[in-house]
Symmetry: D3
Subunit: 295 residues, 6 copies
């Protein structure tokens, strides 16, 4: 009986958070470690379904990661490189799209459905969700000048048309989105999943954007997990970059958060996907997990 009472206590403790987020939209970039380990996968899925059942509207944008490389290898497709940047040619893009929209996307949907969630998997082509255009990376030429360079079917978001998402949410579905954009003539572009999540969060006027990553959050000292910066304001970002505390792969993630905040998203979170149920803990406890970036 004791443990039963304890359970009751914990459920009651969640009440304020449930109240706070009822009816709110939370966009989750799902990727990294949380997509590899089967237990972590199930934990994320349970978290999302639970969020849905207590009245939150989660929207999932996923990456593809290792599955893409694995298929490229299997079909023996060798990539071309320009100054170290991999070129996504048409043949590669075709495989990227297959993996993202045909495998990863549908696996997430199937898991959500099995856990009792109603989910629909789409890509940015569906309902004209993500309009994209070719991205030109600034690549140094021989003279050392940075010149916009065609690296294939990698795209920037031109516009998000969120009607389909509103429709699916209204009908009680959890949208699961493969970050593929469609160009003028319908050609597919590979969009960075963090970017896609951020843009979609803005178009939906989401209350939260959560990036599931493979780090604890932003650390003041990279080697000391206790140095976690749990909350960060927009105007602290530049100084932290100058100090070198924000660096490497964390920079684009933080930039994505900043843009989302400027575009009207309530709060943004960089959390540790390696920790089981980090998503649930972020949403349903005060202490929080990882780093929150706010306006």
């Amino acid at each position: 009986m004791n443990s039963a009472l304890e359970k009751a206590g914990i459920l009651v403790e969640a009440l304020p958070y449930i109240k706070k987020f009822a009816g709110k939209t939370v966009v989750i970039k799902y990727g990294g470690a949380a997509m590899l380990n089967d237990d972590l996968k199930e934990a994320v899925i349970q978290d999302i379904v639970l969020m849905k059942y207590v009245g939150i509207n989660p929207v999932i944008v996923h990456g593809g990661g290792p599955e893409i490389n694995s298929l490229l290898k299997r079909v023996g497709l060798e990539s071309t490189f320009i100054q170290g940047l991999r070129v996504t040619d048409e043949a590669t893009m075709e495989l990227v799209e297959m993996v993202l929209a045909g495998k990863v996307n549908k696996e997430i949907v199937a898991r959500l459905q099995r856990q009792g969630g109603k989910a629909v998997g789409i890509s940015g082509k569906d309902g004209g969700l993500i309009k994209a255009k070719k991205r030109f990376e600034l690549v140094k030429n021989e003279a050392g000048d940075r010149i916009p360079t065609d690296i294939g079917y990698v795209g920037d978001v031109v516009k998000i048309q969120p009607d389909l998402l509103f429709g699916l949410i209204d009908q009680g579905y959890i949208p699961v989105i493969a970050p593929i954009g469609a160009g003028e003539t319908g050609e597919a572009y590979n969009i960075n999943a963090d970017t896609a999540a951020g843009e979609i969060a803005q178009a939906l006027e989401a209350d939260k954007l959560v990036l599931l990553t493979d780090v604890e959050g932003i650390l003041r000292d990279r080697n000391n997990p206790d140095s976690l910066i749990s909350s960060l304001q927009i105007n602290q970002v530049e100084p932290l970059m100058e100090e070198g505390i924000l660096s490497g792969g964390m920079i684009p993630k933080v930039r994505c958060c900043v843009e989302a905040l400027q575009g009207g998203v309530g709060t943004t979170h960089i959390i540790d996907g390696r920790l089981p149920h980090s998503l649930l803990l972020e949403v349903f406890t005060d202490q929080g997990i990882g780093t929150m970036v706010v306006k």
Copy 2:
């Protein structure tokens, strides 16, 4: 962090129950000990608000108990008795109604509101919810014959008109109902709260009727709490009464459950209101609390 993970685990464990009862209607007869002790009061209120937030539609029917007697005593109203049955004359009924609809009812509403629930307190007069008529108790006369006898403004339910409840539920409110019925000319009748709850559960085609009582449930041996009968089928009721295991105040409660089941209610529960969060435990754990009566 450990305790955080534990919390996540418990929230996730509740998921199947949340899924199971999403959108379901649960009518709760709230009375007895759970209305006296302040901690128990808060626990019940939290349970109800939590139920609402995870998508259940709770409907509360409350008793009045000691508060009524306390007011009767304060105004010095002495009751008449017919063969031991207290007569609810007009002056008494006036005070009963004031306590039920003006004090107990509004206190529950205020507590629910403070916990973040949206609640509306009504009596059976409102929107014509409970149509009632005078009840004639069978009272032994001098010759020893049981004769229907007028014991004042105690009523039987003639009809439940649930439109107002559906309207309030649709708008997201928790209806809190004082068990007062209205007669032909609008006169008030005191209705037994268990009966009112059962009739309302039928009219709402509720999935669950829960009676909060001051006992553990039905015990096979009154002196042994371990002899709890955790589940009971309709056809076992008569034999148990003949054996004397079902007796006293438990009989009308079980009858109320049986009628509710026959009227289409999914399951009915007699649970121990003295146990904090017994309501939550009943709904969100498998083991269950008290006795469930089913078809």
Copy 3:
């Protein structure tokens, strides 16, 4: 046949007024003499039901008057006074609430229902309708200075949350409101019924606020009923007060009208509740009854 034709004539005469107010909201402060005499009660109730049936949305705010004192006396509660102001202590407030929300409110509902109206009785606690805070009266201390003084559970309106009222009106109900407000922790405050009616009229953007009183309206000469001021503009109020024509209990009523007008209510009316069907006459005849205060 003649009388039938006469009836037809009168019904037809009402047509322009019915047209004028179709779909409009009229907030009625119901109190005073019209709550004492049984015939007057029935007349008011019939007027309100008729208004509802011809397409007007009446909203009732009632006082409690003599019934409160009667109960205080019965339970032998003696009031404390501060400089002549009665202090509403917790025990008193409890009884006030019982009478207002549990007796007067439900009697009005029952009468409306019996006349064929669909009515729902609530207090300001329900659905968070009236948020209130303690009122500090300015009371002279020994030095003669007016100091804000705690006189118990008498409240000022902090905010009206009219969602519940809109919901009830949409479903065809006549809301009947006991002027009880809820403080931060859910504690009850007694709110002046005129004030509550005025605030609710503003929150509902009502077309009319009608205060049923025990006088003919505003008289230029208190002793001459023929000196009735049938229409008054906001800017005439101050001069009339300076002249002493507006005085005593009429001042807060007129102030309540002025505030309602400034808050967007169409017209306000102080009418004589001692006259049977004065409400109906006010709404359905040109001549008008009592004093209309307009912008």
Copy 4:
């Protein structure tokens, strides 16, 4: 003030009838004397607008009467006759339609609008409301046999398609219908207005069908207005015809009532259109006007 109170009394007396018919549909055949005299016209129009404002849904089907003959005369169109039956040839039908749909119909609409009603005038061609086919009257030939005979564009109702009416009623309009039916190829047929009203009442599942006529109702003794039969059951109709009490032009009217009743209309009424406000009196007083035919 006295007369004001009297007015209030009469308005209150109407309340039970207003309640009884709230939301009900009443189909009114408007014709005869009530279309000739200007005061009678205004009285009928006021009655209909009042009905609409107190929540009844009136639907008007009108005749054309003398206006048709007047135009035929003006254009000098001479009618052909077959055995005493006037033949409605194409040229005549064209004029009939112009008068009904272009003059009488629009005059009624303009009067309703001026009295504050929202009205829309249509004919049976609009929205495919009345599908009709040529009627063949049984006409005696020289041999004395009754043979189905072509008398031109006089039609029988094949089907009522009431969608347009439901749409207009939903939007708060009073439909005003010219009894023209459309044949297979869109050709116009003149439909008897009583018949059209009866068929439309059935298609709308109306609660009342009222035929405004130029007689007091059905008289047991044609010369004695006091011999009015105020209520008649379907099974009394045949006997009354055999007795000769029902005869002449009253027979098709009663038949129309009987068919409407058999088709699901609640009650049917033959009332005296020469009496001002007879419509209002029929609906809003108990005594009733004319003869009611019921199942």
Copy 5:
């Protein structure tokens, strides 16, 4: 099979136009030659029904033309003239209304219905659609001054109340409107059909206003059909009038277009109603027919 493929090709060619106008409102002034010849009539009707079926909302305003004169002649009504302007006295207006609302209007409705369109014919009296007032033409008096002169029941539009039209369109009907306006007391006024169409187009915020006329459009050289001005901007109108290229009956038509454009209509078109299916060609081909006037 070949011709089948050709058909497919043509249907596919229409796709871009169908897409472009899906859900758009097109107000069509229907008059002139297209109302005389039976083949032209059918072509116009087919065009309108087709427009409706592919998702456009056509609204028809029609003239009456020769039919009015024909009836005036038949009844022998001789017109009075003031300085060459025909006076529309009450007797004339009665006949005008009958022809427009009772004959021409219903014929169009019947034809649309027969072609499978759902149509409802109304006049400006219905639902208060066209509020009008007497028009005073400037007529030269003996002194040569232009003085506003009463020429009878010819009206100017005071206001369009488009609710009825929105309601009919929502229900899938094609509204067909006789250009009759109603004055203060409900009296009918004859409104110029072009003007009525232009005003209605503004009130509906239509995307297109199409005037079906009896000329090719605006010709630079009246005698050379090849000199058609296919597109005209508002600011070119005055110069063209000064040059004398725009003259006679074309001036009010162009003015009507200019006002419609200034009132928010998308594009306006003066097209040749003598050409079969000119309406369809205007809407579904790029080249266009007649003259388009744009902002």
Copy 6:
């Protein structure tokens, strides 16, 4: 101008078909030759978008055909065979799903979007659309007995849950469905596309099921295209099979039609996808293309 008039004529000729199918649901199995040739692809896409724009609700179920084999070959996956039946092992199924849901599906969506259609591509996993279970083919064992044999992830439809489709159609989208079913634990099954289309047509209560094939339809004499059976009744199917006229791959297609008809689909069509716009011609011309199977 001539060709313009011709176009108008052809558009008008389509009107009856547009009327006939307005609001109807047409399920199209898209596969075979029509998926290979780029011109044919575009023609099918245009046909579907046109159908949508003229008010039909097309639903697409597609196959994958040669693309699957091509990918299997590229990754070097060699198939196992049981008695000549290819076994779809887990690795194969993974690739099949990627091609169907990630490549073919999204290409169709992108093409529809580019032509102006709003399309959403899903698989049977999404929203629980296709519940499936493992199919056991009857395979001859050595003893020659036909024994149910596990051939891997090839599935039978257990249930279609069409809610998602209704939702998408309501919002104006064209659903494009990859025929993947989800088993109990979310595992993917390859479903025959014809079968999936037939089952979905039944669940949607579609008016038409169209199977795009690579033959002219059912030929009485396989070598004579002029021997096309343009219409076939259910009861003629068995005799034709006995005669050997129905044989080979046509048998399952006809069976699929028969089941759809028995499940409530209006008409079913086997048409020649090699003919450009055969879909449009089937729907918009009388002659019809291919073989229609009807009840």
